[in-house]
Symmetry: C2
Subunit: 312 residues, 2 copies
């Protein structure tokens, strides 16, 4: 498959690397000059499950993508707040049959894609893989993971093409599966991010350390209930107990992991994606007349921490 | 006046020092062995408004106070969770006319005192002075401040004795004033502690730094509203706007100050008084059927931070 990964930070690098190693035709695009320079110089470099790898692929800065390129799929892996600009910058390479796939953290990204692309070419999902940028030219890829996706609008040919995307990702070792309802899955993953990413960033700890504290369960349940209440208003029925278990399974499965939000703010002094996670629930709760005091406070707390750290 | 200060951490030292310098007969008692040893060796040592001072006073460990001593007033300045044990240990020195005065942070301390002492001998209030323990043998006393108090039960002779206490404290330069309702005042001070102490500890910043962040006002208002709702159920009418202003005035008046809770947890890895501040509101809110989600979450967050720091 002819794939371009638009946004090759930590997670984008994992997907680009694995897809390339599996024989796909992979191009990468990024908006961070230092990252683009490093990729042009040394390729996709990573420690992949303990082994140092370096793979050459075509690299373009976000503003210099030639308009005559063609891809079967553009896989978006920017930070949430960079998605819209990346979509706009990638539009010239979209043909009538190019698919857009978004597996990023954050709720509501399909709306951003649907502003610029026909709904039947928008594919949505999430991933439980982890990834960590160690330097502008190097990524650490450890832990087990998976990903899941589907077209946001049922019908053909997009049902068939979703199955092809799953097959391609799965054959690349990315453990992909086809979803019934991608928005349900995004909300369920949002529960993981809205608890573990947010609180581990606030407390500057990893998942396992947080999971061992005596008030963790109470906080996770409280936040997940707010996600479920807002989801319900959007036609998504989250099973709170199941979603809480999904969150708490992470303590065991990826306990040593520091969430991407921690990496952004604590390690790299960059702004977080909080507005697309707890902030989404807070904003949409207000719209539906629902009280979401925990997501309100957590969103305010994370922004406060960003300001105190002069995050850019 | 014959005064013993029971608990001579940072704030107890300020009051003991100022009272002694004004000619009162001052004794001090503390439960921390290292502190007691330092006091016995070097007296009350402090940097008081830029000047190094050292004042000798009788010093007793909490368990070694001679039962035949007499005091006009026992001024309690322990950490909240140590108050009950200190009251019990001091009971033998209480005569029929010894007063108990508590100006500590935290809500509900009068209930602890009333468990052991007649209500007409319990005096309650708070202080806006700051103080900081720099070493076990040294305290830093800067900034301007004040204190206020009253007997918890109206009537004589306690009304008169409250006026005497105020006069003694005021003549010692502690800027004391007589309150109308001490529980109102404690709740109002609780709003300061439940916002600035809690959030500055969470974010590890001083008051001014917190006050400059764009979400500070929203968080302060939210928390103060919960204090007011619980206060209302206890017959205390807090004016939310006035209480918020009282909190936010601190950014200017004592902006460089790191709250005592920050000193406890971040600096000294000791457990905080959160259960007597936001935790009081959370617990009593539950009792009255009131939702206090912000105080619930802040209490859980502070306990989580204590656990992650192995606070003792």
């Amino acid at each position: 498959m002819k794939v371009t990964v638009a946004g090759v930070g930590a997670m984008g690098t994992r997907f680009a690397l694995k897809l390339k190693q599996a024989g796909n035709d992979v191009t990468v695009v990024d908006g961070w000059d230092e990252r683009v320079a490093a990729l042009k110089q040394g390729g996709l470099r990573a420690n992949l499950d303990g082994e140092e790898v370096a793979v050459d692929v075509p690299v373009y800065g976000q503003k210099e993508v030639p308009h005559d390129l063609h891809f079967d799929v553009v896989l978006f892996f920017t930070k949430s707040m960079q998605l819209e600009q990346m979509v706009k910058d990638m539009l010239p390479v979209f043909d009538d049959d190019t698919l857009a796939l978004c597996l990023m953290n954050g709720i509501g990204h399909e709306k951003t894609l649907e502003k610029y692309l026909p709904k039947n070419r928008v594919f949505l999902g999430n991933t439980m893989w982890t990834a960590q940028m160690t330097r502008p030219d190097h990524v650490l890829l450890e832990d087990d993971g998976s990903c899941e996706l589907r077209n946001v609008e049922p019908g053909e040919p997009q049902d068939r093409r979703a199955a092809e995307l799953v097959k391609t990702l799965d054959e690349a070792g990315l453990k992909a599966r086809l979803l019934d309802d991608p928005r349900y899955s995004v909300f369920r993953k949002g529960c993981v991010n809205g608890t573990l990413n947010t609180l581990c960033t606030l407390f500057e700890c990893n998942l396992e350390e947080f999971g061992k504290t005596s008030r963790a369960h109470e906080m996770v349940v409280g936040v997940v209930k707010e996600f479920a209440a807002v989801g319900e208003k959007e036609g998504i029925h989250l099973d709170v107990d199941e979603a809480v278990k999904h969150v708490e399974d992470c303590y065991r499965v990826i306990g040593a992991h520091y969430p991407s939000m921690y990496q952004d703010l604590v390690k790299n002094k960059r702004r977080t994606e909080i507005d697309y996670i707890n902030g989404y629930v807070a904003r949409h709760g207000k719209k539906y007349g629902l009280a979401t005091p925990l997501c309100d406070l957590l969103t305010a707390e994370l922004h406060t921490k960003e300001e105190l750290q002069n995050a850019q």
